[in-house]
């Protein structure tokens, strides 16, 4: 079953929208479950989620702690002397923040299940200007290149005999700072070469361009989109009332 990227985009918007409105960890957890289920339904490799989330773990932990410590209310769980540290309201707030971010990130991953060209076409058929849609797809294409370059540089540094694990933190940070430069430079170089090719092939030569393919909405898309919209509206209204 081929689902139009526009349906997926609508799903992402609905789920993210609800996530921003909900404050209850239980509701957010349910939303997370829904987004994971959708990822599975669209045949996203669940194993990859770990890869995406790992860099976020420390950030999430910090956010959780901040929310937890600075939100007071309800039953107190932990005190040090006179200071109330952890309260139930704090725990709830912390959990909500973390879950919210997780929901938004997961639902965004839905977009990676469509090919970049479909994504661009979807945006265009929703009247987004071609240049912007194209920029988005190229950016998506370059992110893994960026990551690859970073990996290459790290490998090269190690092959010069520098044991990264044994480098002191201070030195490590300054080393990464210097290393980011060749990564950015090389990625920029690739981008420049690509832009030369695009120019040579007449990119933006004329004010209008044709598209070889059209995306058509099928019944599955209409069903998904109307279901998503209806459910979202109902939940929103329910939340407000």
């Amino acid at each position: 079953m081929k689902v139009d990227p526009r349906s997926k985009m609508l799903l992402v918007i609905c789920i993210s929208g609800l996530a921003l409105i909900y404050n209850n960890p239980l509701q957010l957890a349910l939303l997370l479950a829904v987004s994971l289920a959708l990822l599975g339904a669209f045949r996203f490799d669940i194993g990859m989620i770990g890869g995406y989330l790992r860099p976020l773990v420390s950030l999430l932990l910090i956010l959780f702690l901040i929310q937890c410590l600075f939100t007071k209310g309800g039953q107190v769980w932990l005190t040090i002397g006179q200071l109330e540290l952890v309260s139930s309201a704090g725990l709830i707030a912390g959990a909500s923040v973390v879950l919210r971010i997780l929901v938004v990130v997961n639902s965004a991953m839905l977009l990676t299940t469509c090919s970049s060209r479909d994504f661009v076409l979807g945006l265009i058929q929703w009247k987004v200007p071609y240049e912007i849609a194209f920029m988005v797809s190229i950016a998506l294409r370059f992110l893994p290149l960026f990551r690859d370059e970073m990996q290459n540089v790290i490998t090269a540094v190690q092959l010069r005999g520098v044991e990264l694990k044994k480098v002191a933190w201070g030195e490590k940070i300054s080393m990464y700072r210097t290393l980011i430069f060749p990564v950015v430079y090389r990625t920029m170089l690739k981008a420049q070469q690509l832009s030369i090719v695009m120019e040579a092939r007449g990119f933006r030569a004329y004010p209008r361009r044709t598209y070889l393919r059209r995306l058509d909405l099928y019944w599955a898309d209409y069903v998904i989109m109307s279901l998503a919209l209806t459910v979202t509206v109902i939940l929103l209204v329910g939340q407000i009332l």
């Binding site: 070469q193 007449g202 030569a205 361009r209």
Partner: protein
């Protein structure tokens, strides 16, 4: 040296073209100095020269990717420095670059080929027709729906040729298209280019380090330090002592022919490729 292509219609003309680059410390580097060149329709031209001789600069001047510091570059009479002509010039002069990976824009082969034609705002039916024709011309028709980044280097380069063909250029400029390919990839690409030149009368300008590839050209231009030093049929260029003096090595067959001729043997001195030699020895 004689400028060929005068009897045929000239589609590319360089008149007193020079190109300088600014470098760090207010230095300028002279990439090309006072080049005068004409290329006729349907010619298969090879460009050779050591690294830094100005070949890539010359190629980029031909489709207005670079503009000359002085002099004029005319494509079918259109001056590359006129902004109004640039789109048409880019359509007429297709370019293929060295690195197969950095030329892929779209995630599907037919979309990749269609990109240029789509940019010209042709009807979808016409775009589809051109895509089919271009893929057929390079022999990639059955890979129509494949992902470009999974193709071999040689296939990617042929895809780049097809993508340029979809704009129906009059001329194709290739900047060291084979240097990152292995033997089979090279052979297929060259066969494809030769076919395009002989059957479809596409003017082809190819820069290469590999003299065997350039041996099949109608005309070989040798650049050195930004100037044209030699310009003539490959067999003339290869057999001249000036060629080796410029730091280049003729292909083995040409060397053999040259030696045989010098030793007084009766052999056609135009033989520069293996096929020609085989045909001569075993007709």
């Amino acid at each position: 040296m004689a400028q060929q292509g005068e009897t045929m219609g000239r589609i590319i003309e360089l008149i007193n073209v020079s190109k300088e680059y600014l470098q760090a410390g207010d230095n300028t580097r002279q990439a090309l100095a006072d080049i005068n060149l004409g290329i006729g329709a349907g010619e298969l031209v090879g460009i050779a020269g050591m690294n830094g001789s100005g070949k890539t600069t010359l190629a980029r001047l031909l489709n207005a990717l670079l503009l000359p510091s002085s002099g004029k570059v005319l494509i079918n009479g259109m001056d590359t420095t006129e902004p109004g002509y640039q789109q048409e010039i880019r359509r007429q002069v297709g370019m293929v670059f060295q690195n197969p990976d950095n030329q892929i824009i779209n995630p599907i082969v037919d979309e990749e080929v269609a990109f240029g034609a789509e940019n010209l705002n042709l009807s979808p039916a016409e775009v589809r027709r051109r895509v089919n024709w271009a893929l057929e011309a390079v022999g990639l028709s059955d890979l129509c729906y494949h992902a470009p980044h999974l193709l071999s280097g040689g296939q990617k380069q042929r895809l780049a040729v097809a993508a340029a063909l979809a704009m129906r250029p009059e001329c194709l400029v290739l900047d060291e298209p084979t240097s990152m390919l292995d033997q089979p990839g090279r052979r297929k690409l060259l066969k494809c280019l030769l076919q395009l030149n002989r059957e479809h009368h596409l003017t082809i300008i190819m820069i290469s380090h590999c003299m065997e590839e350039l041996a099949v050209a109608d005309r070989l231009i040798v650049l050195h330090e930004g100037a044209v030093h030699m310009d003539g049929p490959p067999w003339v260029v290869f057999s001249s002592p000036q060629f080796t003096a410029l730091g280049l090595k003729p292909p083995p067959i040409a060397s053999i022919t040259g030696s045989l001729v010098r030793q007084g043997h009766q052999i056609d001195k135009k033989i520069v490729t293996l096929e020609q030699m085989v045909e001569y020895l075993c007709p």
